[in-house]
C-alpha cells in the first residue's frame, strides 16, 4: 500500500491524516482551503485532499500517458440495478447473470447461480434468456419462459427471482423513451408493472432521470445544479449526487432535495453553515417546499430555483436539446414557457 515512489511522496504537502478529515464522515469537518482540479476526471478537490475525492487519482502525480480512447464505452448498453445504482456495462457478446461466477453478480438468495444471460448482438439488439432458473425472471412484469430468448427494449425492467429491478438502458435511444415515459407517468396515477407491459418503463437510471428543475447561480459562473425526480443530495463529499467540492463553506452532506408529484422540498441535513431560502435560514432536518423563483443559498453561492420547462433528457455529458415528442408538447404547461428567460 505504501508503494508510492519516493519522489511522489515528497510532493505531498499533507499527511494522510489531514486528507482523512476532508472526506471523513463528519459534517463538522468543513474545511477552508483552495481547490485543485483533478487531472483525470476534472473533479474539483480541496488542496487538503491527497487523492481525488471522485476518481481517487493521486493528485500530486501526473498522468504518464493518457487513456487510449477518450470516451468510456459510450456505445454500450447498461443494466442498472435500481436499488443500489450499480451500472453494469453490457459489452458485445454473451453476458451471464447470477449469484456465482457470472459476468454480472447479484447477491440475492432468490437468484440462481446462473440465472439468465443477455446477448448483445452485432446489430446492437439485446436478447434476454432465462437459464431455467429456480425462481424465474420477469420482463416488464411478464414471466419469461425459460430458455427462450426475448428481445429487450430500452427501459425494460427485469426482475430475477424476487430481487430488485434491473433496468436496461440503450445508447442513443434514451431521450425519446424517457420523454415517452414521462408522458405515461403523467397520465397514469399508479403504474402497476405487473399489468401493463410498457414501452418505456418509468424507472430511469440516476444518470438519465428527468430534470424537473434547476438551481442556477444568481451571480458568478458556478455550474447549474440539476434537480431530478427522487432525492438529490448536495454536499462537498463525493458520495453526494451533486458534489460542490470547491466551496469550503459547503458541508460534506449539506442539503437534500426531494421531488415527487407535488413538488420539490429542500432539507438542510445538518450543515455547518446552514442553508438560506429567500435569505432566511431554514430549520435543519425540516423539509421546506421550494417554489419557482425562490433563492437558495448554499455555502457562498446563491441559486435561483427554476422549474424545468419540459422534461429534458440528460444523456451523459451535455444538455441534450429536448426532442419534443407530440405527447409532451401537449402536456407542457404554457406558464413555464414564459417563466424561463
Amino acid at each position: 500500500m505504501n508503494s508510492l515512489p519516493e519522489d511522489e511522496r515528497t510532493v505531498i504537502i499533507n499527511t494522510t491524516s489531514t486528507a482523512t478529515i476532508a472526506t471523513a464522515d463528519d459534517t463538522d469537518a468543513t474545511q477552508i482551503g483552495g481547490s485543485v482540479v483533478c487531472a483525470v476526471c476534472q473533479a474539483p478537490n480541496s488542496t487538503l485532499d491527497r487523492y481525488c475525492v471522485d476518481c481517487g487519482f493521486l493528485l500530486s502525480s501526473s498522468v504518464i500517458e493518457p487513456m487510449p480512447e477518450e470516451e468510456k464505452g459510450e456505445a454500450n448498453p447498461y443494466l442498472v440495478e435500481q436499488a443500489t445504482g450499480r451500472r453494469f456495462e453490457l459489452q458485445r457478446g454473451v453476458i451471464s447473470i447470477g449469484r456465482e461466477r457470472c459476468d454480472i453478480l447479484l447477491m440475492d438468495k432468490t437468484i440462481s447461480r446462473r440465472h439468465c444471460q443477455i446477448t448483445i448482438q452485432e446489430d446492437g439488439a439485446v436478447l434476454f434468456e432465462d437459464l431455467n432458473s429456480t425462481n424465474g425472471s420477469t420482463v416488464d412484469g411478464v414471466r419469461i419462459a425459460p430458455e427462450q430468448p426475448v428481445t429487450l427494449h430500452h427501459g425494460a425492467s427485469i426482475r430475477l427471482g424476487s430481487s430488485g429491478v434491473l433496468t436496461l438502458e440503450l445508447p442513443g435511444q434514451s431521450s425519446e423513451a424517457t420523454i415517452q415515459s414521462v408522458a405515461m407517468e403523467k397520465t397514469e396515477v399508479a403504474e402497476s408493472e405487473a399489468e401493463t407491459p410498457m414501452e418505456g418503463a418509468p424507472e430511469a437510471s440516476e444518470e438519465e432521470q428527468i430534470v424537473v428543475a434547476w438551481l442556477r447561480p444568481t451571480v458568478g459562473n458556478a455550474p447549474d445544479v440539476k434537480i431530478t425526480e427522487g432525492t438529490v443530495t448536495i454536499g462537498r463529499r463525493a458520495s453526494n449526487k451533486v458534489v460542490l467540492a470547491t466551496d469550503p463553506f459547503v458541508s460534506g452532506r449539506h442539503i437534500e432535495l426531494k421531488t415527487d408529484n407535488i413538488g420539490t422540498t429542500i432539507t438542510d441535513v445538518g450543515s455547518t453553515n446552514g442553508t438560506l431560502v429567500n435569505e432566511n435560514k431554514i430549520e435543519p432536518n425540516t423539509p421546506q417546499l421550494l417554489l419557482d423563483g425562490d433563492t437558495v443559498t448554499i455555502g457562498q453561492t446563491t441559486y435561483r430555483y427554476e422549474t424545468a420547462e419540459i422534461p429534458i433528457n440528460m444523456g451523459d455529458e451535455a444538455e441534450v436539446e429536448p426532442k419534443q415528442a407530440e405527447s409532451t408538447e401537449e402536456e407542457s404547461d404554457s406558464k413555464n414557457e414564459s417563466e424561463i428567460e
Binding site: 508510492l4 491527497r50 481517487g56 493521486l58 493518457p66
Partner: protein
C-alpha cells in the same frame, strides 16, 4: 480461576505472511487494570488494526479487470487491561423433548455460566415452551446460590415457542441500560418451532432488528431434531456463534466455551464502510450480504475477540484507468473498543498503481489475498455439496470426494479447525450419520472469515 485463553487456537502458526502497516496501532504504556482476576501486561491504545490489501498492487492501464480487495482486521494479541462486562440472557427451550437428561445438563450448564460470571456482569434467564417464563430478570451476578436455585426450578413443558422466547430474552438484555457491555443472547433449542410465530423469515427479521439494537444472538442447536437452517440462520443474521451440540453431556462444555469467548471480546459492533472511487464497482462481498448505497458499501462484522483475525473479501470491477496511482477504495472500520472504551474509527486506503507494463502485473499479486479467495471458494463449494446432498443430486461417494478436495484446500490455507470439522463430517457420512448440522456451521465459520 480457569485459564481464559480462547480455545480455538493460539494464532501463532498462521501469521507468517501477514504484515501490518506500521503506525496503525501502536503499543502504548503499560497500565494496571482494575480487574484483579486477570493478568495484565501491556495495553494497546486500540483493540484493532486494519489493512486494506488489493489482490494486485498493479492494474493494467486502459483495461477493465476484476480485482479482489481484502480487509484484514486484526485484534491486537496482547493481554487486555480489562474485559468488557457481559450482559447475557440464557434463552432455554424447555419443550417436552428436553425432558430428562437434556434439561438436567442444561441446568448444570447454566450453573457453569453463573460460576464464570462476576458481579460486574448481568445475567437473565428465560425459558420457553408454549409459554415464555422469565426465570430470572436481568440482575448483576452477586448471589450465585440464589440464581442457581432459580435454575433448578426449570421444568419441561410442551411445545416450542421459539420466537416469543427470543423476543423476551432480547428484551431482558435491552432492559439493562449500561454502556460498554457485551450484549448477548444464548439461544438453545432442540426442535422446530411449533407454536407462536414459526416462519423462517419472521424469526430472522426479528434477529436482524435485535442486531441493529446491538444485541447479538448465539444459536445453539441441540440433538438431531432442530432445524439447522433456522438455527444457523439466526447466528448468521446476527453475527453470533453457532454450535451444534450432539449429546446432552456436551451442553455444559459448549456453554463454558461460549462464555469464555464472550469474555475475550475486545471490539463490539464492528462494521466496515467501503467507499469506492469512480470507475470502481462492487461485484460481491464474499460470505455476506452488504448494504449498498451508491458507492458506499457497508458490511457488518461479528464481535471480535482478542487475538483473532477477521477477513472480509470483496470483488470489484475496475473500469479503465490511465497509467497513474489511484486510490480505488477507502475502507473505514467503526467499532466499540474495549481498550479505549469508546467508539473508534480506523481508515485504510487501497491504492493501485495503474501501469501499461503488463509484465509488472504478475509481480504485484498478493499471496494473502489469493489465499483468502481460495478459502472463500472452498466455502461456496461446501455449500454446493450440502445443497446437492439435500436434493439428492449428488451421491455419497461424490460428496466424500468433494469434501476431501475442500478439506485439502482448507488445510493448505491454514484453516485447521474447519478442516478437522470436515474430517469429522466425512467420518460421520461413512457411518451413515448426518452431517448437515456440522457442515452448515463450517460454512458459516468460513464465511465469517474469523480465525485466531
Amino acid at each position: 480461576m480457569e485459564d481464559r485463553t480462547q480455545q480455538v487456537g493460539d494464532g501463532g502458526g498462521n501469521e507468517v505472511t501477514r504484515q501490518m502497516l506500521p503506525g496503525s496501532a501502536t503499543v502504548g504504556v503499560t497500565q494496571m487494570s482494575g480487574d484483579p482476576m486477570r493478568t495484565v501486561q501491556g495495553v494497546a491504545t486500540r483493540a484493532l488494526e486494519m489493512e486494506c490489501i488489493p489482490g494486485n498492487r498493479y492494474g493494467l492501464a486502459g483495461e477493465r479487470s476484476n480485482l479482489h480487495l481484502l480487509m484484514l482486521i486484526k485484534s491486537v494479541n496482547l493481554a487486555l487491561g480489562r474485559r468488557m462486562p457481559l450482559n447475557v440472557c440464557l434463552v432455554i427451550d424447555r419443550s417436552g423433548s428436553m425432558e430428562g437428561e437434556p434439561l438436567d445438563y442444561v441446568k448444570r450448564a447454566c450453573g457453569y455460566v453463573v460460576d464464570l460470571m462476576e458481579p460486574t456482569d448481568v445475567l437473565s434467564i428465560v425459558t420457553f415452551e408454549e409459554q415464555v417464563d422469565v426465570v430470572m430478570p436481568a440482575r448483576r451476578v452477586v448471589n450465585k446460590t440464589l440464581i442457581k436455585e432459580h435454575i433448578q426450578r426449570i421444568q419441561p413443558g410442551n411445545t416450542t415457542n421459539l420466537y416469543d422466547g427470543l423476543v423476551t430474552g432480547c428484551a431482558q438484555v435491552a432492559s439493562v441500560h449500561a454502556e460498554g457491555m457485551v450484549n448477548r443472547v444464548l439461544l438453545l433449542t432442540d426442535g422446530e418451532p411449533t407454536s407462536g410465530i414459526r416462519d423462517f423469515a419472521s424469526i430472522v427479521n426479528q434477529v436482524a432488528e435485535q442486531k441493529s439494537r446491538g444485541i447479538t444472538i448465539t444459536a445453539l442447536g441441540f440433538g438431531s431434531e432442530y432445524n439447522e437452517e433456522l438455527v444457523a440462520g439466526i447466528a448468521r443474521r446476527s453475527g453470533g456463534n453457532y454450535y451444534y451440540i450432539q449429546r446432552p453431556d456436551l451442553i455444559p462444555e459448549v456453554f463454558r466455551r461460549e462464555l469464555e469467548t464472550l469474555m475475550t471480546i475486545t471490539a463490539k459492533n464492528p462494521r466496515i464502510t467501503l467507499q469506492l472511487a469512480k470507475w470502481i464497482q462492487l461485484r460481491q462481498v464474499y460470505g455476506t450480504m452488504p448494504a449498498i448505497q451508491g458507492r458506499n458499501i457497508e458490511v457488518g462484522l461479528p464481535d471480535i475477540e482478542r487475538g483473532s483475525i477477521i477477513s472480509t473479501l470483496v470483488e470489484l470491477e475496475v473500469d479503465r484507468h490511465p497509467a497513474a496511482a489511484f486510490r480505488i477504495a477507502r475502507a473505514q472500520l467503526t467499532y466499540d473498543d474495549a481498550v479505549s472504551n469508546r467508539t473508534e474509527r480506523i481508515e485504510a486506503d487501497a491504492i493501485l498503481d495503474f501501469t501499461s507494463d503488463r509484465s509488472r502485473i504478475a509481480d504485484g499479486e498478493n499471496a494473502v489475498v489469493q489465499r483468502e479467495l481460495e478459502v472463500a471458494l472452498a466455502s461456496r463449494n461446501l455449500e454446493k455439496t450440502l445443497m446437492g446432498m439435500r436434493t439428492q443430486q449428488i451421491a455419497s461417494p461424490t460428496v466424500l470426494s468433494e469434501m476431501q478436495r475442500t478439506r485439502t484446500v482448507l488445510l493448505n490455507q491454514g484453516k485447521t479447525q474447519e478442516a478437522a470439522d470436515l474430517q469429522a463430517a466425512m467420518d460421520s457420512i461413512r457411518q451413515g450419520g448426518e452431517i448437515e448440522k456440522t457442515l452448515i456451521g463450517t460454512i458459516y465459520n468460513l464465511d465469517r472469515g474469523k480465525s485466531s
